[in-house]
Symmetry: C2
C-alpha cells in the first residue's frame, strides 16, 4: 500500500521559509498570493493488507520520527 504523509507547521508557528517564498513570488509579479506555508510530503510503500494497521503504523512513524509534534501537525492517507 502507498502511504502519503503530510507534515505541516502548526498554524500559530512562524514559517520563515514560507515568508521567503511569498516575497520571492511577489517580486516575480504574483501579487495576489498570501499565507504561503511550506511543509514536508513523504510517500512510502508499506507492506501488508490491512488499511487500519497501515494507518496506525504511519501515525506511529510520525510520532516517533517524522514529525516534531511540538511545532508540527501531520496527516496520513493510505492508498491501496
Amino acid at each position: 500500500m502507498l502511504a502519503k504523509i503530510h507534515i505541516t507547521l502548526k498554524k500559530d508557528v512562524l514559517d520563515p521559509q514560507g515568508s521567503v517564498i511569498a516575497n520571492s513570488l511577489k517580486s516575480l509579479g504574483f501579487d495576489n498570493v498570501r499565507d504561503v506555508r511550506q511543509g514536508k510530503f513523504i510517500e512510502l510503500e508499506i507492506e501488508g493488507k490491512d488499511r487500519d494497521t497501515a494507518t496506525k503504523q504511519c501515525n506511529e512513524m510520525c510520532e516517533k520520527l517524522l514529525a516534531n509534534l511540538v511545532i508540527e501537525d501531520y496527516s496520513v492517507e493510505i492508498e491501496s
Copy 2:
C-alpha cells in the same frame, strides 16, 4: 482560494533523504517499509475567483520558482 502544491523528485532521481528516513524507520522496527521519497508541500492563498486562472498561475510559479524541473515534478490542486 487555497492552492496545494506537491513537489516531488522524479522517479529516476536518487533520493538520499528518503533513504535515510527508510533506514531510520527500519532501525525503529518498521520492517515493512520500502521506497520512501521525501518531497515538498506548499500551501498558499491565492486571491481571485477563477479556478483555471489560479491553476495556471500556480503552474507558472512552479515553473519559475518553486520546482527544479530538471529533477522535480509538481502537481497543483485548487480548493475554493
